[in-house]
Symmetry: C2
């Protein structure tokens, strides 16, 4: 698309895609705005007509990264064909697995997404919760409907599950816990949620 024009056509999304890919490869603190611009065949300060500064670009890339995580989770869910109780349980575990796998397979994107680069818009008061929350809510509702999750444990369980999975992912990523800790966590979670496999 877009002619090989002098004005490059669509710099903004090219910058975003380029930044995201570079972060993915070398990490956020090693991406250079100048080098990125040079690679796109554009002057050093061209980016400033689309983003106020480098942090804003990285922040946008960060939100793209957290979206990629949600995409991967939904993809992992879509694969599961089982229905009923088996399906609900499989979906629950797949959600945790894909979250941890994303963190370990794309450590730089994961750190970008949750490492303070993403400027909080006004998420506290935002009427719509993060995508990860909605995905998780559906999975937990599925567990309740299947009779696997005791109703008395349903409240606040999004917080518990999301926190635990996110925590184990980052602790493994930063070398504080061994990789096997993830499986241990999933077992513990399932056990404590009252799930009987």
């Amino acid at each position: 698309m877009s002619k090989p024009a002098y004005h490059h056509g669509d710099l903004e999304s090219a910058l975003l895609a380029g930044a995201l890919e570079r972060v993915r490869q070398v990490g956020a603190e090693k991406v250079s705005l100048r080098a990125l611009a040079a690679d796109l065949g554009v002057s050093p300060s061209a980016a400033y007509h689309h983003f106020p500064d480098k942090d804003a670009l990285l922040s946008a890339a960060g939100f793209a990264a957290i979206d990629k995580l949600a995409d991967q989770q939904e993809l992992a869910l879509a694969i599961i064909s089982a229905t009923g109780a088996d399906g609900a349980l499989a979906r629950f575990r797949a959600l945790g697995r894909s979250y941890v796998d994303f963190a370990l397979n794309e450590p730089h994107l994961f750190r970008l997404a949750f490492g303070g680069h993403c400027v909080i818009p006004d998420a506290l008061e935002s009427d719509e919760p993060p995508r990860a929350w909605d995905i998780l809510t559906s999975a937990l509702d599925g567990l309740v409907e299947a009779g696997l999750l005791k109703a008395e444990f349903r409240e606040n369980s999004e917080i518990l599950v999301w926190s635990a999975v996110h925590g184990v992912a980052t602790l493994i990523l930063e070398g504080q816990l061994p990789a096997e800790a993830a499986d241990g966590l999933f077992d513990s979670l399932a056990q404590m949620l009252g799930v009987r496999p």
Copy 2:
């Protein structure tokens, strides 16, 4: 100690302390090695005789930060005078609270400690686990002895609890969860661990 010598006496620890304090104030990615050196009355490249590069200094500061966190946890534990079941439960909650509080009160130190700056030495195969692990183990043992934590839930509970607390701390810190989520998490944890308050 050490004279006000031309050779500054003890640059290494001065650099470490300075770096730690600067990270605390402005965040890791905004500390300048040159500015730090200038502030210590020392030439720009003086630091290179004590640390191979800037990352190494930040890494050392990161390990100091994670030590500070452990200090704060032990301090929070020491304050609690209650004994028996009440004490065990109070200690358990204080551990979580101090962890989350540290993250929210010292966000830059927390991110430095768990944000990929700390080079993993060989922690996977290391014979001794992180300090946070030991502290947590004692608290959980206390819960079991007090009859508050069911023995069937004891296995892997360090992983579950540490992950959940760490996760909720970072998710709140990055604006993905509201601050009240921490209390909800503690309640959920206590409930699911079988604790009856």
